[in-house]
């Protein structure tokens, strides 16, 4: 019943080629840099990656793309500042892109975690991003049917974790992480601090351990925004 792992390498050991991997984070906040680098070292390829963005600079998710490991990105906003790696790969036809409105992306992931195979949303109705999707009138307004998103793996950056995988986050680094932890078959967490069972107030747990499979301590995690500004290149 102890979900802690001794190393990043051990935590990502079961990721296989062709898997779908959700990666927490919005911009640099919440991006699990050390887990992504462990995944690069591990070598899995042909991955489908779900993240709000598509990485910046040359570390973290951008490095995973630069190493040619990502077949397809599902995201809402790949065209960030300093997203040259994704941009180049996309324009060269080396990576597939499924563009999803941000709120629909969040809700599809939540639906995946909550056992809701499909839901109607007003978002995207009448736009190119709703083309080919079923539409329905409810109470005189039109909605688009969206499907759940699930993943084989979620890589998550947390602030505190206990050995059962109960998690807290740090400020706006929370973003997609609680949803992805729900929607992945196997959720791997890097936590700045591993605390004793019971040390997290039950009222303050954001992700209950039921959604978490493996936890590894990364005491002073890198931050994507800082790495990008410092022009860090991985590996």
């Amino acid at each position: 019943m102890d979900k802690t792992r001794d190393s990043l390498a051990a935590a990502v050991a079961d990721i296989r080629d062709g898997m779908t991997v959700m990666i927490g984070g919005f911009g640099g906040a919440g991006s699990p840099i050390e887990l992504i680098h462990a995944l690069i070292d591990h070598g899995a390829r042909d991955l489908t990656v779900i993240n709000n963005n598509a990485g910046t600079g040359h570390a973290g998710l951008a490095a995973l793309i630069e190493q040619g490991r990502v077949r397809k990105m599902i995201c809402s906003f790949p065209r960030s500042a300093n997203a040259e790696v994704f941009n180049a790969a996309y324009l060269a036809g080396q990576i597939e892109l499924e563009l999803v409105p941000q709120g629909t992306l969040a809700e599809r992931i939540r639906a995946g975690g909550a056992g809701i195979p499909a839901f109607y949303t007003p978002t995207g109705y009448g736009t190119d991003l709703a083309k080919g999707k079923p539409q329905h009138d409810f109470d005189g307004r039109m909605y688009v049917l969206e499907r759940w998103l699930k993943a084989d793996i979620a890589l998550i950056k947390a602030e505190e974790a206990d050995q059962h995988g109960n998690l807290t986050y740090r400020m706006a680094a929370r973003n997609f992480a609680p949803l992805m932890a729900m929607a992945a078959a196997h959720t791997i967490v890097q936590a700045s601090r591993i605390v004793p069972l019971g040390a997290i107030n039950p009222e303050h747990v954001i992700t209950p351990g039921i959604f978490v499979n493996a936890v590894v301590a990364v005491p002073n995690p890198a931050q994507e925004e800082v790495l990008t500004r410092e022009q860090v290149v991985y590996p």
Partner: protein
């Protein structure tokens, strides 16, 4: 069958048997009433984590009488306590755990279980005040949905049947039934007998069961301690 009452398992023994199949680290929901008894028999050395629909994970046993805090209850509205590692969450997150398939095991009571895995456990039909609670969610939630039940009704009628005649809770959802006489899996629309009380012949058991019992693997004795 006059000896049935003397050989059949007590409720505690049925609960004990079900508890043996709960793995270390399992996330478990026990239905209101009889299934709650399973928690008493957690196997030594294993740590299960109990989920309750009303937004609490990893609750512990009941507090001493007079020590109840009625804001700390389980889905059966009984006062509980917290284990280290407990967490609170709202109802939508609680049923995301259920419907999203995050529970390892749900153990429920039953009026009837069909060989298809259909379960009827929420209504005895028209009349009275209906109530459903979380049963219809739980049967579609856990990776493994098990039932604990007397093998027959008080009148001696089979509770394991070809087709449920009572209103359904869920379709093709139950995978194992722990009864007062046997342990029976549901596989491909058939009741598959795994264990039965040694004191009971297969013919006797079949006569108390409303659909054919199949035997795929060497039949085990259902051995349960005195409790």
């Amino acid at each position: 069958m006059s000896t049935l009452d003397t050989v059949k398992l007590t409720s505690a023994q049925i609960a004990w048997r079900a508890a043996q199949d709960i793995e270390d680290g399992a996330y478990v929901n026990l239905g209101i009433g009889f299934p709650e008894m399973v928690a008493r028999f957690q196997v030594a050395g294993r740590r299960a984590i109990y989920h309750t629909e009303n937004g609490l994970l990893d609750f512990g046993q009941a507090p001493a009488a007079g020590q109840e805090d009625w804001d700390l209850i389980n889905a059966g509205k009984r006062a509980v306590t917290l284990n280290p590692g407990a967490s609170f969450f709202h109802h939508a997150d609680s049923f995301a755990m259920v419907r999203g398939g995050h529970l390892d095991v749900a153990i429920l009571g039953a009026y009837q279980v069909a060989q298809s895995g259909d379960l009827a456990n929420w209504s005895t039909g028209p009349g009275g005040v209906p109530a459903v609670g979380g049963a219809m969610d739980l049967v579609h939630g856990a990776k493994r949905v098990a039932v604990i039940t007397e093998h027959t009704t008080k009148k001696g009628e089979p509770k394991l049947v070809e087709h449920c005649t009572l209103p359904l809770t869920g379709v093709a959802c139950v995978t194992r039934v722990y009864t007062s006489l046997a342990v029976i899996d549901i596989d491909a629309g058939r009741f598959v007998l795994r264990e039965k009380l040694a004191a009971l012949s297969l013919d006797d058991l079949q006569s108390l069961t409303g659909a054919p019992l199949h035997i795929d693997t060497p039949l085990q004795d259902l051995n349960v301690p005195e409790l």
